[in-house]
């Protein structure tokens, strides 16, 4: 395993080159060798950051400190102070207030080290998930007590609004606004549903929250119910998650025995009960209207929207549907206040995000970090670098409906607004890291195959479009593609987005679109040269099987 403790990035844009970036780079190389640090510290040139006035400049990770302008004779001092002794060389630091453009986010970073910060996974692995006593000792149910006895439902909603919490299921909708819609909807009966039908490929954060800290979800759902005036709740959990299911059943039982759930909670006149509904294996049931159909005992086919579940949800009543990770943030926000929550992350996206790291890296697994850290940091700090020192080619975020992010976007901070600006999405929090041994045609084929398999079949663009895209990609991967196929894939991706009824179909074309915009040369090599540059596709040249 090859891991690096720090990274040094030297700017390589035209302005930096003119002002001697190469000399600075070479000097770094020499000084790192002189201090015997070459094995611990990686040195790279980056070209996608434009900042002429401080060129050439140097960014040192993981602290994300920018130095500039740097002259070759400064390098010895920099290496000695920052990399050898571990102190930031203040005299060479670029003035942060002048930071503009693509790197201005570094100035917004609160605290320099992007160390793992846990809010939703705070107790996971620390307490016994089957013991309500341990949960209570660790501040459990204090937020519910505070909400019920010291706050009005409107105050609870306002607190969530001020926290700037956004839905962690993938779409990033402001949670407080959603609560407000349900609270103001007319209805004699309202429902709160926890969406635990986590099935995005590569995502297992909700499973670990439920398995590690089931009471946090029950507490947060009860707070939500109080805020929107609901008396019944459902947890819709994936059929495959049997351990999480067992723990939830136990947690609900314990909460009822201690009076945190059921009739007259905390001696108030507020009552709320939760039922568990297990899914039976259907990715589409993670879509909120399909989930509601499934609870009603039907096929999980999404409803047309509007009307939205906030007014016409379960049994046609106003219904609040929140993802597990979103809910897990609720109790901490009520307990500590919106201002506390806003201190995490960056101005566009408050709080933390749980990511699952997978693929060609040294360490895979789960991390919870502040919003706004970069892919480069995730790979080098938490994933301990690429496996066997391989080169990063792309990362796929958020399961199958996420984006394919090429390596040159790895310095974009991972938050809702920066990603939207770069034309990519965060999705559900999976980070599938792929080295240059990955073929984009093969990857797109696997992703589309997933949608082909999981499409509910209700609307034509999704049912037929994914099938057709899969056939075309199979053809290309076998060396039988034509120029027309390329245009067809572009059309299918566009039509999927424009004409599908629900989020599944609308996002199914995203991998195609990303491949076309970032890796079209590689697809063309399959078509024109009948070659797979990564050496993955077997270019047999025979007619594809029509599956």
């Amino acid at each position: 395993m090859k891991t690096k403790r720090s990274m040094v990035l030297v700017s390589n844009d035209p302005a930096s080159q003119k002002k001697g970036a190469s000399e600075v780079y070479n000097q770094f190389s020499k000084e790192l060798a002189a201090f015997n640090l070459s094995d611990e510290i990686s040195l790279t040139m980056v070209s996608d950051i434009h900042r002429d006035d401080i060129a050439p400049f140097v960014i040192v990770y993981p602290e994300a400190v920018i130095y500039g302008p740097v002259k070759p004779e400064d390098v010895h001092h920099l290496v000695e102070e920052h990399l050898y002794k571990g102190r930031i060389a203040v005299d060479l630091k670029a003035p942060t207030k002048q930071l503009t453009g693509p790197i201005s986010w570094i100035a917004d970073r609160k605290g320099t080290l992007p160390a793992e910060q846990r809010i939703v996974l705070e107790r996971a692995g620390v307490i016994d998930p089957d013991s309500i006593e341990e949960y209570v000792i660790h501040d459990g149910y204090t937020a519910l007590g505070k909400a019920l006895t010291e706050m009005t439902p409107q105050q609870v909603i306002n607190e969530i609004k001020e926290s700037n919490l956004r839905g962690r299921g993938g779409a990033g909708f402001p949670t407080g606004s959603k609560w407000g819609f349900v609270a103001s909807a007319q209805g004699d009966q309202k429902y709160v549903i926890c969406n635990a039908d986590e099935s995005e490929p590569g995502t297992f954060k909700d499973r670990l929250i439920l398995e590690g800290d089931p009471h946090s979800i029950i507490e947060s759902m009860t707070i939500a119910a109080y805020a929107v005036d609901a008396s019944e709740g459902y947890i819709y959990i994936r059929g495959e998650y049997s351990l999480a299911q067992t723990r939830l059943v136990n947690a609900i039982q314990q909460a009822k025995e201690l009076g945190f759930l059921g009739e007259n909670i905390f001696g108030t006149d507020f009552s709320f009960d939760i039922q568990i509904h297990a899914g039976a294996g259907a990715y589409i049931c993670g879509e909120e209207t399909a989930l509601i159909e499934s609870i009603e005992g039907k096929r999980g086919e999404p409803r047309p929207r509007p009307p939205y579940p906030t007014t016409n949800g379960l049994w046609n009543k106003p219904t609040l549907v929140n993802n597990v990770e979103t809910l897990a943030n609720i109790a901490p926000i009520i307990r500590n206040g919106a201002a506390w929550f806003n201190a995490y992350g960056n101005p566009s996206s408050a709080g933390t995000k749980v990511y699952t790291i997978l693929g060609d890296v040294n360490v895979t697994g789960l991390i919870e970090v502040p919003m706004g850290i970069t892919l480069r940091e995730v790979i080098s700090i938490y994933a301990k670098g690429m496996k066997n020192g391989a080169k990063l080619k792309l990362a796929q975020t958020g399961g199958s409906s996420g984006s394919i992010i090429p390596a040159d976007l790895q310095d974009v901070p991972m938050d809702y607004d920066s990603f939207a600006k770069a034309g990519v999405t965060m999705g559900s929090g999976a980070l599938l890291i792929c080295s240059d041994k990955t073929c984009v045609v093969d990857l797109a084929k696997v992703l589309i195959n997933f949608f082909r398999f999981e499409s509910c079949g209700k609307c034509n663009p999704c049912r037929i479009g994914n099938q057709r895209a899969y056939q075309i990609l199979t053809k290309i991967s076998e060396g039988l593609g034509t120029e027309k196929d390329l245009a067809d894939l572009g059309d299918i991706s566009k039509w999927l987005y424009e004409m599908s009824n629900c989020g599944l179909g609308q996002t199914a074309g995203a991998p195609l679109k990303d491949v076309m915009s970032h890796f079209v040369n590689e697809v063309e090599a399959h078509i024109n040269q009948k070659e797979c540059p990564a050496g993955v596709c077997k270019m047999s040249g025979t007619m594809p099987a029509q599956k």
């Binding site: 499934s294 039907k298 895979t364 789960l366 999976a430 093969d442 992703l447």
Partner: protein, 159 residues
Amino acid sequence: MTVNTKQDRDFIKTADEAVDMYHAKKEELIPILMKVNQDLGYIPKPVMEHISSRLQVPQSHLYSVATFYHMFFTEQTGRHVIKFCESAPCHVAGGREVFDALQEDLGISPGGTSDDGKWTLMTTSCLGVCAVGPVMMVDDDIYGNLTPDQIPDILAKYE
């Protein structure tokens, strides 16, 4: 329907147990089917007919629900069901080679049941244990970090 064989009577008994467990509520159709599927390994036609009359829902609706969800089977499966994850994280971790080896060892392709009725092979979407991909499930057991050479030893554990 007319009840003839002992097998039919057993089916009806299982169906009644599942329906009673959920108080014959229409909205509990999915948990009811889940219970039957667990007890019998699949949902046979006579069972669907019986549940349909007990819940007062059309058979067509029952069939449409039973065939919609991947965890339900409407045909008898082999004694052991293998679900192999074919989602992207397992695929890039070397899943394809393992799946080829698995198909060769079993002598069946996805969706097939072996002639001796021992194995049914299926592909599945993400099982949520991606950190240890490639992954497969044999009945309720999960196997991760698979390599092609482990397959014979794993299969040998099952009678």
